[in-house]
Amino acid sequence: MTIEVKFFASLRERVGHSDLQLEPAGITTVTDVWQQCTREAMPANVLMAVNLEYVQSGHPVHDGDEVAFFPPVTGG
């Protein structure tokens, strides 16, 4: 299995990826996922989700999880 990573909107353009698959080795938290995907610093206002639920950057990540990073939402 792998960890599925998604980026949306302006963050997708900034990071240059919309979807990535990561090997779980060495990954413990959401912060680890970010650092394996990009050398960009994590923006202060970034929002994060694991398996479709909002989490904070220290949230644990396991093999098979879906992890998403995105900017402040602007729907409605």
Partner: protein, 146 residues
């Protein structure tokens, strides 16, 4: 209860008319309906806007809205909820969001409709990218609190 995320144009009043005709069991139970319709303006932050693209995170958006509607229906004892949100390419005047709630009394209808909109705008994973009339595109930075 119905939640729909669609790339098709939304005719809010026609949708409400047909939706309400499908809830005959609630005739005489409903005392109040509160509706909010958000539509695209042609001007934002000092710029004329000619078009907009709405991106979303499909699986999370649907889950977030389902959880939100369920929690709101319980909290205010609502009889029914209809929530529609547009995605994809839109132009000024297009309906972006429709939130409708039905309840026995008006205080619950007003409060629940407002709650749904504020939560949707601050937490549901949608993003807007505007096309400026003078050329270029820009991401909308954030929603203002209601």
């Amino acid at each position: 209860m119905q939640i729909e995320i669609t790339t098709d144009p939304i005719s809010p009043w026609q949708r409400l008319d047909s939706y309400q005709q499908q809830m005959p069991g609630l005739v005489g139970k409903v005392g109040a309906s509160a509706v909010f319709v958000g539509s695209m303006r042609d001007f934002n932050e000092d710029e004329s806007i000619s078009a907009m693209r709405l991106e979303h995170y499909p699986a999370m958006t649907l889950k977030y809205l389902q959880d939100l509607v369920n929690q709101t229906m319980q909290q205010w004892s609502l009889l029914d909820v209809l929530l529609l949100h547009r995605v994809g390419e839109v132009t000024p005047g297009d309906t972006i969001v429709l939130v409708a709630v039905w309840s026995a009394h008006r205080a619950e209808a007003f409060a629940a409709c407002r709650h749904l909109m504020e939560e949707l705008k601050s937490r549901a994973p949608f993003w807007k990218q505007e096309t400026l009339r003078e050329g270029g595109r820009r991401w909308v930075g954030k929603n203002t609190p209601g």
